[in-house]
Amino acid sequence: MSENKNTVDKSQEDTLEAPSHASEQEVAAGKESLRTDADPSKKTLTHTPSVVMKELADTAAKREPVPEARPATKLQLVSRSTQIKEASLATLFFICAFLAVLGVGLIFAFVAWRAFPLLSEIGLWNFLTGTQWSVADNTFGALPFILGSFVVVGGSLILGVPLAVLTAVFMSEVASPRANAIIRPAIELLAGVPSVVVGFFGVVVVVPIVSALVGGAGFGPLTAWIVLSIMIMPTITTLSEDALNSIPMGIREASYAMGATKWQTIWKVVIPAARIGIIDATILGMGRAIGETMAVLMVVGNAPQLFAGISAPISTMTSQIVLEMGYSSGDHRTALFGLAAILFLISMSLVLTVRLLAREQTKKTKKPKKGGGA
């Protein structure tokens, strides 16, 4: 690449030094000699194209001019109605896209506006670190809910991610098409089950089992983990499977041809190659989990207290908002909007993380602009 650049530079100098009326052929000849100087072994190669080009130019010169007397073809003009249609469609699409942006902006602005008095009335620090949440005492410390949300999400990821990723690996690398024909629709159906139904399943089936296993009423983090891991599993499985399927067959073959077994190929080549996609899937699953409300509300116990064991009832930001928004007013309502703002920020940072990861990945595998010397 650098060699080419030199040639161009030199030929430009050459043009400057040469008399101003230098013909193109002379310049071409100059270029040619420069190239020959640069790499004597390629003499014949660099010579040939210029000869061919000269021949082509000669042929072009000999070609007869196009007769002018022929009547010009009538070209149809763009009709007015087509122009209007195109323009209005473009506007329509723009409005649709703009509404999405506007929606996000408005929701954020509204939540921030309603949560804003929190700074003066309760104090941000008191709000974030307070452990007491009492409507009667007008004390609003959000820490139990923030921690509660993270406890619930974290546990569900610990249970759900291995389950989902292993399912994805099974579907992509191991299962026969016939097995996939059963598993895939099942997972899609699972994704479509309304969260209130999953919550109901939690209350009726999981709660008694958890109660029998660890004691207590059965409402608490462990139950929420199980229920949530079922709910995030389809998202993570589907996206991880896409990531695994996008790994070219060639690198699997390469691994087998190196004498790797199927498991070595999966663990050492395929999963690392799909790593970013799997992390993406996990983060999106996390987004789903942190925003999940109904099923969590039904099984988590809804006690505004700090995490005190896998069977002690806790509460989360989402469930607290739903439970209390209906009758809240004043500082209470402001505090609930504060919870909503925190949720919003967490979701936004999750989405941003996914985008950053995607950018990182393209940067990593992108070819350098200058050839590596080959």
């Binding site: 070219p248 060639g250 690198i251 691994s255 087998y256 041809a257 190196m258 080549v269 190659a273 080959a374």
Partner: protein, 275 residues
């Protein structure tokens, strides 16, 4: 001419002792499901030499090559018949571990396929599978393999860079280094030069000549000049009728095949009359 009555022509007679050959193939048949893709293939691959498989597209060269390290095992519903002996041992006899076989018989594919990991990790992949853990040992293997693959000078300062971030020709040499790192006895190359730049082709041909004393090389190529340039032996495959199995038309020393082909079809093919 019907495939079943086909007789391969040999300018050098077939060996009678499998132990003097690298591969000793007799009456090999191959099926994809019901389709008989290869029939009655008998040939010797001599050790410490380069053998080229030539023939038009779809004539079974690559299929045959993939029989040699049992890569076809990965395709469901395929079947092999006849004998394929590596250093006198039948690679298709029951109980043979294809994974171990593939450690001894390396393969390079048409499309460069480095793992999306660092250049270092790519080359260290095979040795690590075999249990090499010491950093200094791995360093030595990586450097030595990259040198043998004519790539060391270009990548010695960027070993931690992703294997996909270098040019296609460099990627192909990286794949060769990756295979050489496990010291294979045989190197199967499936059109290794058809997707890369001429400079890298030159470097690959050079390295083939450099390593052929230690590694038996079998190369499938569409490029007649390449076959004539690099190989010591040549085998010409042909599928005359679509749907019929492909056969081995002629096999022998490259100098004989290219200067005095016995079969008319070989002559037609190498002079560019078809294919």
């Amino acid at each position: 001419m019907s495939a079943s009555t086909h007789q391969t022509k040999y300018s050098t007679p077939l060996q009678t002792d499998p132990l003097v050959t690298s591969y000793y193939v007799r009456n090999l048949e191959f099926w994809y499901g019901d389709f008989n893709a290869l029939t009655n293939i008998s040939l010797d691959v001599m050790p410490s030499a380069i053998t080229a498989f030539i023939g038009p597209s779809g004539c079974g060269k690559s299929t045959f090559l993939r029989c040699m390290n049992r890569m076809n095992d990965l395709i469901p519903d395929t079947k092999v018949g006849g004998d394929m002996l590596l250093k006198g041992a039948d690679i298709y006899s029951s109980g043979v571990d294809p994974v171990d076989l593939r450690r001894r018989v390396g393969m390079i594919f048409q499309q460069p396929n480095p793992f999306p990991q660092s250049i270092y990790d790519n080359v260290a992949y095979g040795p690590r599978l075999q249990g090499v853990k010491k950093k200094s040992d791995l360093d030595d293997i990586v450097e030595d393999s990259l040198k043998r693959a004519n790539l060391w000078k270009e990548v010695k300062d960027i070993l931690d860079k992703n294997g996909l971030a270098i040019s296609g020709g460099q990627q192909q040499r990286l794949c060769i280094a990756r295979v050489l790192a496990v010291q294979p006895e045989v190197l199967l190359m499936d059109e290794p030069c058809s997707a890369i730049d001429p400079t890298s082709v030159q470097k690959i041909e050079d390295l083939m000549a450099e390593i052929k004393d230690e590694v038996t090389i079998i190369i499938v190529t569409h490029n007649m000049q390449q076959a004539a340039r690099v190989s010591d032996y040549t085998s010409f495959f042909l599928q005359e009728v679509a749907g019929e199995p492909a056969v081995l038309v002629e096999s022998g020393k490259t100098s004989d095949i290219f200067t005095a082909p016995i079969d008319k079809r070989t002559e037609d093919y190498i002079t560019g009359r078809f294919g």
